[in-house]
């Protein structure tokens, strides 16, 4: 993307409109939070939370603090670990179900019965089962992403245009060839979409698990941004809560973007039209 195009995009009317809305939001927040100290009247809800300016100040202090960045690292590692485990197991599982009718009819109902159980409901069972708290978090994280990826892979594989398969067959391709050269690439876009959504879910689960195992007193793993937030709450430093929230938001957005770019790289044919 050349510089002029980038400049056009950044200074476009659309961009400014977005900025305006966000600014208004921040202003209302700031005024609402500070109102009590200015005029003595506590605005409901907003009046109870720290103001953006205080949050920003707090953040400035945290940037120099290594333990803050440690939290980032721990959360990221859990997310990536669980996510990749889910991909490695989920993609083949989904593809196999799409390709083999019998396996699908056997495994899918069981899968669908287990799916509505929220991953977090697995936390206690997971903690009992796995030897370390870290593994129990990893398992729950894995579950969260696993369901999404499998569903998306299945959906993608099922909607492959039959004619692609028939074309390959008529050209004399073996079963394995068809799988490798037709089914796999054709499902790739769905895998990418599933991954992006799964990544979001993974973050939700990691943060939840960190808060629960750290905050619920079940003797868990320390660290991570979720734990950071919970700790800040318990410790009474409310500005840090918001810092933590924003940090996770950024981290989550960043990882989804990276995934989308990676996906774009793997599926260049989608960029045309």
């Amino acid at each position: 993307m050349n510089i002029t195009k980038l400049k056009d995009k950044v200074f476009s009317r659309a961009f400014f409109r977005g900025v305006i809305a966000i600014s208004i939001f921040l202003i209302i927040w700031e005024v609402g939070a500070r109102f009590e100290s200015w005029y003595g009247y506590r605005v409901p809800w907003i009046g109870l939370i720290p103001a953006p300016s205080a949050v920003f100040e707090s953040w400035g202090g945290l940037i120099g603090d290594p333990s803050y960045w440690m939290s980032w690292q721990m959360s990221f590692m859990r997310v990536l670990g669980g996510f990749f485990a889910a991909m490695i197991l989920g993609i083949p599982f989904g593809l196999f179900m799409a390709v083999n009718r019998t396996f699908h009819d056997t495994a899918f109902p069981t899968f669908e019965i287990l799916r509505p159980i929220p991953p977090l409901a697995w936390v206690p069972a997971s903690i009992i089962f796995w030897p370390t708290a870290e593994l129990s978090i990893a398992f729950v994280t894995f579950l969260g992403a696993f369901y999404t990826i499998v569903i998306n892979v299945l959906g993608g594989a099922k909607s492959i245009n039959k004619q692609y398969l028939q074309a390959a067959q008529s050209m004399g391709a073996s079963q394995w060839d068809i799988f490798r050269r037709v089914v796999l690439p054709a499902t790739l876009p769905s895998i990418v979409v599933g991954s992006a959504v799964g990544m979001g879910i993974t973050w939700e689960v990691v943060v939840a698990a960190e808060m629960i195992s750290g905050g619920g007193g079940s003797g868990g793993a320390g660290g991570g941004l979720g734990f950071f937030i919970w700790n800040s709450y318990v410790g009474g430093s409310y500005e840090q809560i918001v810092v933590g929230m924003i940090s996770i938001g950024i981290a989550g957005y960043f990882s989804s973007e990276m995934l989308r770019n990676l996906g774009g790289f793997l599926t260049p044919w989608l960029k045309t039209r």
């Binding site: 109870l48 056997t106 069981t110 409901a121």
Partner: protein
Amino acid sequence: MNNASLQASEMTGMALTMYRISTWFKSPKPYLMLVGVGFLLAIWYLFVEVWQLPRFEDMPGLTEVVTEYFSPDPIYGLSVYTPEYYQHIGISLRRIAYAFFLATVLGVPLGLFLGWSKKFHEFIFPLFEVLRPIPILAWVPLAIIMFSGSETPVIFLTFLASFFATTLNTMLGVQSIDESYTRAARCLGANGWQTFRHVIVPGAMPYIFTGLQISIGVAWFSLVAGEMVSGQFGLGYVINTAYTMVTYPTIVIGMITLGVTGFITSTMVRMAGDFMMQWRVRELALGDN
């Protein structure tokens, strides 16, 4: 059209459902399904109770759970015979109902406008996208600080999750409507509002309902998390308490109940969608032509 699909095209409602069920039973599907589920249960039984494999020995076993679940006087207090069981279910369902209803009422119109008006989208969507990546549970402390009591924060969290999912999917739905439809409407003399009412809203309906199914799943997810952390009563609370009180079979009972209620509510949403979009049901039943 062969005989079977000819009949199908003339059936509606109940008859169509019965027809679909009967064909399903004639296929190998139900039996394979039983094999799959049976396999899972068998593994559970064998690993925990019969062979007592290393990591599995502390887990509640199949027989233990089943006896507890169906016993009139359960050891740990919850079974299909105890009123508390249904109270917990009821409370969770009530919270879901409030949160989901509010999220739908606010999210669908917001999503529709975000998709329909470019101007509105330019203003509001960036703000929306900045707030959306923040995981729902990260809101817990803030929710506790902002709202008094223990009910409201939980409902708020559930609402938030559901709201984001509904709005986003509705917006994407509007954007997915084939532009030929809006163009045709304009040719036929419809003004902006008429196009919105007669084309955008019905056209986005299928996507809205898919979004609502996702949304209710997300709602359950958040509800359980919220209940585990800050609620009293409710299924999430049941599971968490069972864990801390070391009454493990109840954990499984809680999980199973969650699975079943989650599935039922999701199906209810889908059925509501089918009911409201008769045209789509019939179109799908007949396949592409």
